[in-house]
Amino acid sequence: MNLSASTQTTLTLFGGVFGVLVLASAIGALLKWRVAHGQPHPVIDNLNSRVNAWWVMVAVIGLAFAFGKGGVIVLFYLISFYALREFMSLAYTRRGDHHAIAVAFFIALPVQYFLIWIDWYGLYAIFIPVYAFLVLPILAAVGGDTQRFLERTSKIQWGLMVCVFCISHVPALLTLQIPGFEGRNLLLIAFLVIVVQGSDVLQYVWGKLFGRHKVAPELSPSKTWEGLIGGVASATALGAALSWATPFTPWQAALMALTICLMGFFGGLVMSAIKRDRGVKDWGTMIEGHGGMLDRLDSVVFAAPVFFHALRYWWTP
């Protein structure tokens, strides 16, 4: 009974997302026809390729959900891998870092996801921040190259923190035992992803329609106060409206949504600062119209661990 109820709720959520995407595609086609008159138009074309990429991303997430826990863990393992590749490709490293980077890719990344698979909370919560953070600088030091050592070490550590540790907290939501919510944890992932990505999309829409005053012109020229306030407020309302699919009451859902939207916003700001520091606009070219994997995920990265621990502290016995 529980299972079929949760499947039904998941399908309803996907149905809603599907409807929004149909609407977005229709608006994009209408803009292309009425405003751009079928001619190339940078903003409208970018909007349309973003919407198209969303179709693909929703399909991929849907496929992973269909396979349950294993599918979600494999999906986020791959997401972490591509995110880490984008991060390390941009970071300044030297020959002496080779072993440390190899360990990050081939040991730290699989071990973290394996620990989530076997649900060993006590170790996956500290594996990267304690053991990887101590072993990586040891490997770099053994490499013998001291030039810009602290900077190089911190870059590899940060890459693991952001791309593996933080992202792995999305599938880790499946391991939480919330009384009365058993067997429905996929909905927690759906809630997190819909609210955080919805906040990104709504900030984009509000910003494009009403944006005047820039929040951080140095970091992210496209972020405006109008977009931020409108986007976060409407995504918080969206979160409250989704409370029926979660273990939260409406006001709890709104507070959760507000928290993860703000973490997501500041996460985007931090990741932009790293990109500006490296002199690039996007992390990669993997997702048409969005940039790289990290460009799409920067807000999830910062929201996921906070959402996970808030749930774990207040909702699990």
């Binding site: 891998f81 591509y82 590749r85 984008e86 390390m88 490709s89 941009l90 300044y92 490293t93 020959r95 080779h98 980077i101 190899a102 890719f105 081939f106 490296r278 002199g279 690039v280 990669g284 070219t285």
Partner: protein
């Protein structure tokens, strides 16, 4: 020559190997080709690129459109690519490499590399060559270019000379390391270079070198 069943088998193995090598290179390095100032064209082309690893020409080859790959031969060092049966298979059968001697043909009767390349270009092949003449294994961004590029430009004025910058492969597998790390690589193609009338060797080589260095991404240049 009669095509024996054995040589047919070898050819099939070469085609399959080329798919596998290109597929593995793409999976491992996430390589993408970026063209600026020109696009991939079915015209005879000499690609000249920086050289930091034995995998360089595989990356360049993997980012070419499949129909151009068949027309494009890498120029490779004989001493390395003929050192074992497997390397010979990859070098000759899979990539149809033009084998040259890197000791400058000091041995009596050895063919001159520039002449070999000129002949290949005159017979209609496109080539991938590394004008540094050797693999750059140190911290230097780009070694001084050998004069071969200038002689080729003069001998074959109709060939498009496309500068290429291969980014990051040195970081994927530095010399002496066993495990490659999966960083994303980029192959950047620039606008073709034309030898100006009366331009001398030094000036042309300097221009070619500047064209290669200009293709580096911003964040690499910032570290000079």
């Amino acid at each position: 020559m009669n095509p024996s069943p054995r040589s047919g088998l070898r050819k099939a193995a070469a085609v399959v190997s080329s798919w596998l090598i290109v597929g593995a290179a793409k999976l491992l390095t996430g390589v993408r080709g970026l063209w600026s100032g020109t696009g991939p064209k079915a015209e005879q082309t000499l690609y000249f690129a920086n050289h930091t690893s034995h995998g360089d020409f595989v990356l360049l080859w993997a980012t070419l459109p499949p129909d151009l790959r068949a027309l494009t031969r890498p120029v490779a060092g004989q001493d390395y690519w003929e050192a074992s049966a497997l390397r010979r298979f990859i070098g000759e059968d899979v990539f149809n490499a033009l084998m040259i001697r890197r000791d400058g043909g000091t041995a009596a009767g050895a063919p001159n590399p520039v002449e070999q390349m000129t002949q290949a270009l005159q017979s209609g092949d496109s080539l991938i060559m590394f004008p540094e003449g050797t693999r750059n294994t140190g911290d230097e961004t780009l070694l001084p270019l050998k004069s071969g590029l200038f002689h080729l430009a003069r001998a074959c004025p109709n060939v498009r000379l496309v500068p290429v910058w291969i980014e990051n492969l040195k970081r994927v597998l530095p010399k002496g390391m066993l495990v490659p790390i999966p960083l994303a690589c980029t192959v950047r193609y620039g606008a073709p270079l034309v030898l100006a009338e009366g331009e001398d060797k030094t000036a042309f080589i300097a221009r070619a070198r500047a064209a290669m260095l200009a293709l580096r991404p911003e964040y690499d240049k910032a570290e000079d």
